[in-house]
Subunit: 762 residues, 2 copies
Amino acid sequence: MPTPSGEQPQRLGVGSGELPRWEEGADLSIVGRAHPRVEGDAKVTGGAQYASDVRLPGQLYARVLRSPYAHARLTGLDTGRAAALPGVHAVLSSANAPEIAWYEDSLLFDRTLRFVGDEVAAVAAESEEIADDALRLIVDAYEPLPFVLDLDTALAPDAPKLRPSGNLNGEPTVYERGDLAAGLRDADVIVEETYVTQAALHNCLEPHGCTAAWDGDRLTLWSSTQSVFDVRQRVAEALGLPEHHVRVIKQHMGGGFGSKQIAWKQDVIAALLAKESGRPVQLMLDREAENLAVGNRNPTRQRVRLGAKRDGTLTAIAVDAAQQIGAHPVGGEGADVPAIYQNLYRCPNVRTEQRLVFTNTGPAVAFRAPGHVEAAFALEQAMDQLARALDLDPLELRRRNYADQDQAEGKPYTLPEALGRCYDLAADAFGWAGYQKPPAAGPKRRGVGLAAHDWAGGGGSPPGYAWVKWNADGSVDVVTGTQDIGTGARTGLTQVAAEELGLPMDRVALHLGDTANGPYAPVSSGSATQSTIGPAIRAAAADAKRQLFEAASEFLEAPPEAMTIRDGKIHVAGEPEDRATPVGDVTAQIAPTMIQGHGERGPNPEDKSVRTVGAQIVEVEVDTETGEVSVCRVVAAHDCGRIINPTLVDSQVIGGVTQGIGFALFEDRVVDAGTGVVLNANLEDYHVPTAADVPPIRNVHLNLPDREANPTGAKGIGEPPLIPTAPAIANAVYDAIGVRIRELPLSRRRVLDALATREAPR
Amino acid sequence: MPTPSGEQPQRLGVGSGELPRWEEGADLSIVGRAHPRVEGDAKVTGGAQYASDVRLPGQLYARVLRSPYAHARLTGLDTGRAAALPGVHAVLSSANAPEIAWYEDSLLFDRTLRFVGDEVAAVAAESEEIADDALRLIVDAYEPLPFVLDLDTALAPDAPKLRPSGNLNGEPTVYERGDLAAGLRDADVIVEETYVTQAALHNCLEPHGCTAAWDGDRLTLWSSTQSVFDVRQRVAEALGLPEHHVRVIKQHMGGGFGSKQIAWKQDVIAALLAKESGRPVQLMLDREAENLAVGNRNPTRQRVRLGAKRDGTLTAIAVDAAQQIGAHPVGGEGADVPAIYQNLYRCPNVRTEQRLVFTNTGPAVAFRAPGHVEAAFALEQAMDQLARALDLDPLELRRRNYADQDQAEGKPYTLPEALGRCYDLAADAFGWAGYQKPPAAGPKRRGVGLAAHDWAGGGGSPPGYAWVKWNADGSVDVVTGTQDIGTGARTGLTQVAAEELGLPMDRVALHLGDTANGPYAPVSSGSATQSTIGPAIRAAAADAKRQLFEAASEFLEAPPEAMTIRDGKIHVAGEPEDRATPVGDVTAQIAPTMIQGHGERGPNPEDKSVRTVGAQIVEVEVDTETGEVSVCRVVAAHDCGRIINPTLVDSQVIGGVTQGIGFALFEDRVVDAGTGVVLNANLEDYHVPTAADVPPIRNVHLNLPDREANPTGAKGIGEPPLIPTAPAIANAVYDAIGVRIRELPLSRRRVLDALATREAPR
């Protein structure tokens, strides 16, 4: 706003771009330390409130009736007996629900049902049991329609169509640089193979769900979501409310892995049931609904071509990727499979083509490093095959080819040396160079494999904001609108604030996950929370510190610029240590006025590209009699810039590798070909890794502050550790038994089949 | 913080000092209009959550055992049977509670009890009824001590002492300007009288109380308080917690009137009971406890001397005030009786002396315009008496003497003409000049009376802050840490935001009353909320608008300075009206980044003094047979600067006058002289005015924007309307029956006694 007086406006905040970097080797006392989770006590004692823990006076519980058919038209629905059941307060279906547009061409309760699990009706009752009983009283009739369940069938010319335009979601996306044909012509060696990845299910410990409560025309929604602001926007739009009449709250979360980055139907259904019944309504999905209706990793088929000169120099990279996105375009279903082909290696001639294919299965949605996980399985096996064809060490082939600058835009990376150093660190820690296979023990064969990754994770767009309040007793409240989706963001972000403020951790409280009160923050996805919100918090803390020093100047009779804070005490340059003044002595004198600091995340550098990279090496043992693959050990080395908290980083790496082991060896949604029913939508038949499946995982710390990326120097590490695990395992299996398995998971059956294939021709 | 690069820091907020004033006659479309309360629907439909509406899973209900003696030592306490009662989860007393310092020389559960109602023990149980039963099972024994119940007894030399130092709370406070003795010598006429005011009880519709819930070592407290931040600070201190581990929330409130401006014992007792039981605990005071233990208006005795020249010019004002503050110095008990003697009139020679006196009665605390109400009853009757002694119209005497500049500091008022105009407006509307008494109707006599007031209400210290978030759909969330104590602050502050933003009211949501998320705001007292928080909100809104215009500049291809917003649309200067762009069209394009505006209340002017003033005129009818005084009509004229919402201002005036009628005629805490028991600690025996007691009240609007006070031009109106009512009534009673009653309330007995006194000597 132009100031009428023309005077210099008062200063009320700091953008992170103004901050000096934390220098390498600087005397950081909190950042970089393994502080336990600030919410740890609350979690282990049961005090932390998860979505299903919300209890409001008069609260009802909701259940959803789902389509038993893979493709059908709803021809009859009688909810009368359900509504009349004592304890039932509201029933919603296409018969009485408002016509709310959902997905691109469907309704909240649509009469055309496109997968087993599509929403048909919902009931709110005084208990989950009564709601379940009521669902059984609903009389529903359907006209079954022809359906398709997999990529091949869906792409066949005479396939049943999910939509009038066919089964493709839009036109194929093509990326080209250089001249692929020329690159292939120039190649001395060409690898051409097709890889298949499966539908994996997120299986967050906490299922999706929410509780909705109205106060007049204002709605509060406690939702298990990675993005309180996006849920607010979508729910407001669906219900025709202005956004400021919707408040979305999420405090603790048992994982999202991408499946909670959007608003799902239950957020709106719970709100409508609450409106209808005049009572708060909780709608938690049970494990079956969770595994049918709210996302999965898209199955892919990737035809890969690589070309290289005799010395290993890559001349061509190409992929034709078809991805099965299920029945609906939910937002985030089009995982970016091409990215890693475009970015991981230095190569002048690249072509990627991506097709998104509808099928009558549950909708796909982002799943931890979406696209990259699927793509790495193919590309990194192809690289391994290429290395062997060239008679090169797979590690050496990668060292000769990894990208140290942005391949698409030609800009330098902020840390061009990062991936090379990850290779070195991982190889050294693993003992790659001198690795000797142990002698075969009966039917068991050992092997080692390697794979790398590339990811974004630099954050900053959309930006984030933070507010810092200095309290009278010298403690601090930090307010942000971000979420802690279970990664430990609360702890890592508190460390950033405590470090900048010079306070012990227990003097800083971080508030998050509430659209009404926090400033805007984007979805917690893309491993971008620390790199987006951290700098904003540091900026707000710096602003609050500046104001404190100005206020302290009078009491301490020293200029603000001579002051620093360490361990909660203000030190004045040149004065003895023991004359330091506790912060609380100053804040008490300016209380209850208090200091409000404001900060925002500044932009990323314009002339450089911020990436995260990493490499993993695994050793496996394959039982050639049973087909069982056991992972013996994993060494990981990932660039995430400055490590704010090594424990949190190790946790992400261990979690990612564990999920990668499951993806590589066990996890696979099984759909009955005759009906479209998911046969293992539960944790008994769908196998996620248990403690017994997890080998020693060593995470070697690169810990190279990415100073040009942002003023904390930290980047994300949530998603990347899952990317290289499956291809590293597959490469190790090849190393062990000499057969390459190009379809996931590497089940016993596939291993035995592959061995049989190998042994037959030889 | 010094920026290392030396570059100009990015701008992240606005201080209200930068804002241009809303000019008189400017095209304001929302400010100045009678918008209904934004929370009105929620309140009338029962949706609004008051303190007693909080329900948490497993919540217990607490009751407090109180001293039956006015002064005693607790000699025995057995809570064993109470604790063993099924349904009881925690019992606290001096036997097991931590020794938490309370008041200046006492404990949370002290063994010396100083009034009937002092806290002895507390019980938390599964219902209020079980808790009540448990209280009856506690065996308590006391050693009674001598006690004092009133000012005269307490000040007698041989009085029983509440404290070793005696019954005075500190030394008398003396204020002097000029030479009082000289002023009295110069006077042609002197009035010297003594006035007595009573203990009035606040009787907020909603009693005090709170609900406490722990999450690990973090406490959330839903408390009926005028100051979430002050409660947070006090509770944290008492429990040895850092402030950021305590969150205090208050959404809706049924009145505080000053009695809720501090943290009371129940806030800490509920927290301790919750800790002990491991369950949330609600501790609501019942009406009796409310009227015993959490405040009252301090009874006073004021010896007043006024001196004036024959022409009415005041030469001397003096008061010796003794104020009965009850058993404990709770904070805010020392109502500022001297202020109005020092400030209301232009007078060179002034002396005030104030003594605060302990008695064995419930503690006094601020009560709507504390001190001023008591003082005005005395001073404004003395002025009336002086006018009659000088044979001057009481209005004329005031016109000749009212202060138009700060008497203590000599600074001009920002609105020196305000009180003169209030006199004119009230006199005109009432018909003061031509008033003719109606002929006596049987025993009934009519009379008219006048009184004025002076008050602060300019706010700004401590300062306030606001944050404004522009949402993707063009709606706005405003976040503040202030409270709406029932005055309509939510509505008035929303109007300020909507006006500055150019949005309809229903596009703006105001969030308040939560220490965790809002920025700091001071206690809602001193009628300062609108004048402190309003400018901060306007500043934050201006900052958000500036950012919107900058963002819109690109889409609208116009410079930001050419833009204005009216009724939710952005208008570009020089372009036709019908080409205006809905705000939502722009915010949708910058969503989900959103705009965060920051604002703070700038300082008050240094060279001028900000006051609020006003006058009231009443007509009464006195029944000389029954002694009954009926108020026939009231005309009020008050300066509150710009009127943000005339309905809200009228509500405050009507409420204040109504409370003033109760104070003048009915309200009186009756303490049994033999025991110290309050005989009317309920709403049956303690008479607050009902609809039948309230005459037509006309509030004449001065509506003079106080441009130099702050950029909204608005000041407070919450407390002032209560100040002049009682003296105006007393003056009218004198006018009606020719006797002056200098002790409150003007009960039938006092009127009849006074009439008898008058009639006897004549």
